[in-house]
């Protein structure tokens, strides 16, 4: 059956029509380590961001990331809006699925799923809004 489906897809491809087939198994909730993988300053310096990946280190396939925002003095930054875009700068593309951002505690956000489908250098491009409009990048490697 799968061979038939593949043949149909090949035919559609020749006809110039894109198609795809994907099996997405259910995933357990991610768990994050206590110590961060990275500690970043935002581009303006107004925010400190603790980055924790699950799995650790991030791997090819489905991943999650937790971002904890504080001010430079270490105080929690509540009231932020956060966007996260996984990006592969070497090839100039992101992922096909935008991660869902959930605020799990004041100033703490979980982005999932991160479908990192290619090995190489990746970035998380982070944009905040609300009480601080800012940007930041977390670079990491997938092999």
């Amino acid at each position: 059956m799968r061979v038939v489906a593949l043949c149909v897809c090949l035919g559609l491809g020749v006809a110039g029509l894109g198609c795809g087939d994907q099996a997405i198994p259910p995933e357990p909730p991610p768990s994050f380590a206590a110590d961060p993988d990275q500690l970043l300053a935002s581009d303006s310096g107004a925010l400190l961001i603790a980055v924790r990946f699950a799995p650790r280190p991030p791997a090819l396939g489905s991943n999650a990331v937790e971002l904890s925002f504080t001010d430079p003095g270490g105080a929690t930054m509540a009231g932020l809006g956060v966007e996260v875009v996984p990006w592969m700068p070497a090839h100039g593309h992101g992922t096909s699925v935008s991660p869902t951002i959930t605020e799990t505690a004041p100033g703490r956000f979980v982005a999932t799923p991160l479908y990192l489908f290619m090995p190489g250098s990746w970035e998380l491009r982070i944009t905040t809004s609300g009480i601080v409009d800012d940007t930041a990048k977390a670079a990491f490697e997938i092999q």
Binding site: L6, C9, G13, G18, G20, V85, A90, S96, E141
Partner: protein
């Protein structure tokens, strides 16, 4: 338009004369044929190792030999990933259970406009199968269509000791679907780069008896992409292709080739992004077999070189191509 054709001894209506042409002529013709298939298979393409990013920088996808007026063809390509280079040049083999296989069916055609100029068109159809962790999927579609121009300032073997010299240009357009617009999590339906890309190059070919050697070099520039309001631009990509071969009876030709791809760090809002350069070295063997009087069968086997430091931000794979070409004289 005045067209200067090659002598009619190359015409299909004069096969006896063609059969008596010199070994040098045969070598030159077969060298070109082999160079075509090598060029098709091995000209470094932008992120060509990633099936999602196929279609850029195809400088000579369908090259005509000196006596051909036009040609059409189809190439099938398969490539299996066995590892990957990280952004710092480290190499790691694929994790057990992970799998990526890319396929292409490429349609191409070329037409001659005068004795020195030819233009070509290349339409790739791309499919990718990926299995990563607990995810698996496959998808595909039309890739980035490319057009190319080749100007043969000096045809190989026609002007004494002069090597063949050609100027090359190509443009690919983002008709494919970039991975971030794919409709599946593993982006297997990503078939293009999302960018325009222009390429300029030069090719030199030398014929010595029944042997030939050719060297091509290109510089390519990809248009910027914008994400979250910030524009990412790309460094020029340098590509080189060295090929050599030998022609046997009936114009059957075998050869070997090596290609090199190198691109500097990408830039975000004018600032270089660390570890975002791209590099890859590929080597392989090629075979060209003419059959009947107006068909060619061409094939390659190739492998990227899995040596740490020889690549950056590229998957490493091996595979083959098989092309069939119908030409008219």
């Amino acid at each position: 338009m005045t067209r200067r054709r090659q002598p009619s001894k190359f015409s299909s209506r004069s096969a006896p004369q063609a059969a008596r042409r010199s070994a040098a002529d045969a070598a030159a013709m077969s060298a070109v044929a082999l160079a075509v298939v090598v060029g098709i298979a091995a000209v470094p393409r932008g992120a060509a190792a990633q099936a999602c990013c196929v279609g850029t920088g195809l400088v000579t996808p369908a090259r005509l030999r000196t006596f051909e007026d036009r040609a059409v063809g189809m190439q099938m390509r398969a490539r299996s990933v066995m590892g990957a280079f990280g952004g710092t040049g480290s190499y790691a083999t694929s994790v057990s259970g992970n799998r990526e296989v890319g396929f292409e069916e490429d349609l191409f055609g070329a037409v001659r406009l005068g004795s020195h100029l030819q233009i070509g068109l290349w339409a790739p159809f791309v499919q990718t199968s990926r299995q990563v962790g607990g995810l698996s999927g496959w998808g595909g579609g039309l890739g980035d269509v490319a057009a190319n121009v080749r100007f043969d300032a000096v045809n190989a073997g026609t002007r004494g000791a002069w090597p063949g010299i050609a100027l090359l240009a190509a443009l690919s357009v983002p008709t494919g679907q970039p991975p971030d617009e794919a409709d599946d999590p593993l982006a297997t339906s990503g078939t293009g780069t999302g960018s325009f890309e222009g390429s300029l190059g030069v090719a030199i070919e030398e014929i010595v008896g029944n042997a030939f050697v050719s060297l091509g070099a290109w510089v390519s520039q990809r248009s910027a992409r914008t994400v979250m309001g910030s524009e990412q631009s790309f460094a020029p990509r340098l590509s080189a292709l060295l090929a050599g071969g030998y022609t046997f009876g009936h114009d059957a030709t075998v050869g070997a080739f090596a290609s090199l791809l190198r691109q500097g760090d990408a830039r975000d809002a004018g600032v270089a992004i660390a570890n975002s350069s791209v590099a890859l070295v590929t080597a392989g063997a090629a075979l060209a077999l003419p059959f009947w009087q107006s068909w060619r069968l061409q094939a390659t086997l190739f492998s990227d070189v899995p040596i740490a430091g020889w690549g950056r931000n590229q998957s490493v794979g091996f595979g083959g191509t098989l092309a069939i070409i119908r030409f008219w004289i």
